[in-house]
Amino acid sequence: MKNLSRREFIGTGAAVAGASAVGSYSPLTMAQTPSLSYKPEAGAKLRVLRWKRFVQGDEDQFMANVAAFSKATGVEVRVDNEGWEDVRPKAAVTANVGSGPDMIMGWFDDPFQYPTKLLDVTELCTYLGNKYGGWYDVSKQYGTLNNKWISVPWAIIANAMVYRESHMKAAGFDTMPKDTAGFLKLCQAMKAKGTPAGFALGKAVGDGNNWVHWLLWSHGGKLVDDKGNVVVNSPETIAALEYAAELYKTFVPGTLSWQDPNNNKAFLDGQISLTANGISVYYAAKTSQDPKMQEMAQDIQHAHFPVGPVGKPMELMQITQMMLFSHTKFPNATKELARWLMEAEQYNPWLEKSIGYGAQTLKAYDKNPIWTSDPKAKVYGEGPAMMTYHGNSGPLGAASAACLADYIVLDMVAEASSGNKTPKEAAARAAERAKRYYKS
């Protein structure tokens, strides 16, 4: 009986090719399409904890996918929602105590803080990678530890420059500058025209961290090297901070106090004409009943962050993964649910209903119509390929999590931007703080 209840793996062998010859697909394609499924344990019941949706469509489709799973497998699934920042401590406690939800959608380096408490999902992720065009590099970085998959990268909350095209043109620029030098000139020109930029410098977990890491990395600075030695106090960092101080002068007043929602509100109110954000600003304008907002939506454009002296895109976004806990009584049911949610039949509609807020972690899903049906969403669909992991370029784990949560880079940029500290002082202080966590 025990053997029967174990996972049921259907290989990619000839049996599949033979059985599928009936279909209208060419046998060759079918033979190459891997297949995998897990047989849920009898009487399995699952608990899932996910972050509370940012867009309604996400939750609706997610719940529809889960309901379809329950119908197909008979496995009852309870889904709890928590504010996105509350998931992290809950997941850690779940891992620590060894009971609680079977699957949690976590963030960033959560899986690296308790890798031994998670199910090995190498087989599942290898299968998904083979089937759906491979994982993005950043998905691999956030999903694997020592070549073993410890989580299933689920989605990336893509981030991009959001700007008013007419205001940029009025400032004398036909297109968004592709380099940091040109970008500074654009911001200066826009400030002169009374349509300034604004980037969050308060304790903004998403919007603040994203752009300050781009700022640091694009100039060649980073918090730690490959071995986890703190190297932030470098000439490259100083250059980045000097750039930040110049850029800050072009911002609308008040950005030091901005938390995550502030730039959305200021942009939609017309007080700023350039910021970095998820797709939410655009959709808020597009779906508004107010004709003025509709007009603004027409004028909104998106672009990738400019490339700095390092010569390649260096962007930070948010990534969320499915963590499957080894304390689950129903490992096969949990894995099957993860597989189910990642398969095209479920993932594609979910991506579409998420209206571009979440972007794919598997390359094949960049064909999803959401990225082409509205040309303005395209930039967000390309986000996953642009993303660099936040621990760049050291190991992920407790130290990288602590540094991000302690706003070390954000504080450094805010201090240097506002003139509260010189770039040298700010970089030295950041190094001191980071050494605390990367000590061993």
Binding site: R88, V93, G202, N262, A266, D406
Partner: protein
């Protein structure tokens, strides 16, 4: 004696029975207060991470914190926040209590209204203040601009000192009712005959306040201010909603920093150490208000 069973002997023993009746309360206190406090203190001496039990590292967390510029700033912020806010809460609260103690029309209505800021959940009132202080949408700035008094919006939460004062004002607004209503209760226990006697003796209102109200109110003040200082010192929600400790960590209190490091940051040990370091400061504050304000001599109206 020998014909009594053990149970009967137990039931007839006053001491044993007394202890037995105390057991439930003791268990509650130990389980819900002493144990968590002890655990929190112990965690401060370990390098525990969230999701990973720590090992004993002695005073390392504490010695690091003493060199950590962000922590030292948070200690300064906490002391500044507590002292300034408590002084204002005391002065304004006492003033309000004295006003409410007079015979006003609609007396109970006013007394009820005064309690409102205290009743509204902090998170809600904090959001109201967040809008008031918003760098782009502040109605305060808007009004002042429309009146032509200023040209640009005030950066309430973006400039370190302004941010400190802004959060203090929000805290004072919220904390006054507690002080005012408690002191009002104290005022009503003072017998009117003292005031009658004093006015017959020709005492001025100030003298009445100085030599009757203050001495008799002091025990209440000591208790009320002890609690008020405790609430202020450990304030969390208000800061978390308004600034999360920004700008440039200028409003980070020890409580918010402990949370930031322990929960989102995962460094349980360090967060616990910060929380533990609040204890000596809290004790000092309590000692001061408790013993300092309860001196018998002053209470009895002596000058020294």
């Amino acid at each position: 004696m020998s014909n009594l069973s053990l149970l009967e002997r137990f039931q007839s023993n006053r001491h044993a029975l007394g202890y037995a009746f105390m057991v439930p309360a003791a268990l509650l206190l130990i389980g819900l207060l002493a144990y968590p406090l002890g655990l929190g203190t112990w965690l401060g001496f370990t390098d525990a991470k969230i999701g990973r039990p720590g090992e004993w590292i002695g005073l390392e967390n504490f010695s690091y914190l003493l060199t950590d510029s962000v922590f030292l700033l948070s200690v300064f912020n906490t002391l500044f926040y507590t002292i300034v806010a408590s002084i204002f809460k005391f002065l304004l609260g006492l003033w309000l209590a004295l006003l409410l103690n007079k015979n006003l029309p609609f007396q109970s209505f006013f007394r009820a209204v005064v309690l409102l800021p205290w009743i509204v959940p902090t998170a809600l009132s904090a959001i109201a203040f967040w809008w008031l202080y918003d760098s782009q949408f502040s109605v305060l700035s808007w009004t002042l601009v429309k009146l032509g008094l200023i040209d640009t919006y005030i950066d309430f939460l973006g400039e370190p000192w302004l941010a400190r004062m802004s959060v203090i004002i929000a805290n004072v607004w919220r904390g006054i009712p507690f002080v005012a209503i408690s002191l009002l209760a104290g005022l009503q226990t003072i017998s009117p005959s003292y005031y009658e006697a004093a006015s017959i003796d020709g005492a001025t209102p100030w003298q009445q306040f100085r030599y009757i109200t203050m001495p008799l109110l002091t025990p209440i003040i000591a208790v009320v201010m002890t609690f008020s200082v405790l609430f202020t010192f450990t304030d969390f929600q208000l800061i978390y909603v308004l600034t999360r400790g920004g700008p440039l960590n200028a409003t980070h209190l020890m409580a918010t920093l402990a949370f930031q490091r322990a929960i989102p940051g995962g460094s349980m040990g360090e967060g616990a150490a910060i929380a533990t370091m609040m204890v000596p400061l809290l004790l000092a504050a309590i000692m001061f208000s408790y013993f300092g304000l309860q001196r018998r001599a002053w209470q009895q109206g002596a000058d020294k």
